[in-house]
Symmetry: C2
Subunit: 188 residues, 2 copies
């Protein structure tokens, strides 16, 4: 991941990875069989790292759906996730999604997991607030898209845009969509 962030996915060689690990040239093939396999495992690792943090963030959040939804969204802009190096790796893989079905599949399955959980949270919030004409799954997908887009902005314009601006944008979205729940941004 360090190598991908530094040199880009196309330009990281197994030699780079070995050097980064402080080991010798042939080491990656010994442990990962092939470069393709290493990259697949890297994406799985990244996805799993996110899932671990996501599950933990929800476990720590309270019982209220609105609090849980906020916790889920806030995670995306914590330093442990919204780190320019990690974001670069996500985008490196997304950049190959069209040409590498294996990457697409991993991302797609991962996305579905969050769509379910966040969709369910949205459903509960919508019920509570009697928000009419709001589809919970659509809201969950929009939130996911907003996050990914804001990550790109963090990547492209680090000088003028940071994770705090991004979190503000998410709060703004939540306030507009679910005004009764997020009227005053008391959190974070």
């Amino acid at each position: 991941m360090k190598c991908i962030a530094r040199k880009g996915m196309g330009s990281t060689t197994l030699g780079d990875v070995a050097k980064e690990a402080g080991l010798s040239a042939g080491i990656v093939n010994l442990h990962f069989e092939s470069k393709e396999n290493l990259l697949n495992e890297t994406l799985k690792f990244l996805a799993n790292d996110y899932k671990t943090q996501f599950d933990r963030a929800l476990a720590r959040a309270g019982d209220q759906p609105a609090d849980r939804l906020l916790a889920a969204m806030a995670l995306d802009f914590k330093p442990s996730i919204c780190d320019r190096r990690k974001l670069a790796v996500w985008f490196a893989f997304w950049g190959e999604v069209k040409s590498r079905p294996a990457y697409r599949k991993i991302c797609d399955e991962s996305d579905r997991y969050y769509e379910d959980i966040v969709g369910e949270l949205c459903r509960a919030v919508i019920d509570e607030g009697q928000y009419s004409n709001v589809d919970p799954l659509a809201a969950a997908n929009a939130l996911k898209a907003l996050t990914n887009g804001l990550w790109l902005t963090c990547l492209i314009s680090p000088q003028t845009w940071d994770r705090h601006h991004a979190m503000d944008a998410v709060m703004s979205y939540l306030r507009n969509a679910f005004p009764k729940h997020y009227a005053n941004d008391s959190k974070n």
Copy 2:
């Protein structure tokens, strides 16, 4: 662009490009000097293609800021822009933004152009609607991020998600943010 969409940026060789063009091996270096230069020009071409369509879409839109803003957003989900092959190319470059300053610069400058124009449209809409506490630049950035994120969803989940769903999500955002202007989605 065809090659990048099909094989990914790291795996497209100058030979692939030459073959796609129906020409011989050395042709790319003859016309573009180097591979690096070809890639830079490709990104510039893509950005310029978008700008052309953006300017034309605004030129065709009416005088009302709300109509103009809607036209700008709707463009992003027209087939000529929201095409899986073109999206793959955008993401291929975004995937290297961290490691290639040249790409970041082109994207950043391009983004700023739209931030100005869309920000100004948001400002006008906010004035008209007396929407309180809404920062026009923040709204413009959020809309841009939403678009980019929705593009990613189109790339990753083409089976369950298309440009129409994406446009619905944008309409939903506009309706929540500027209810007086987009209450009934009479357009597209």
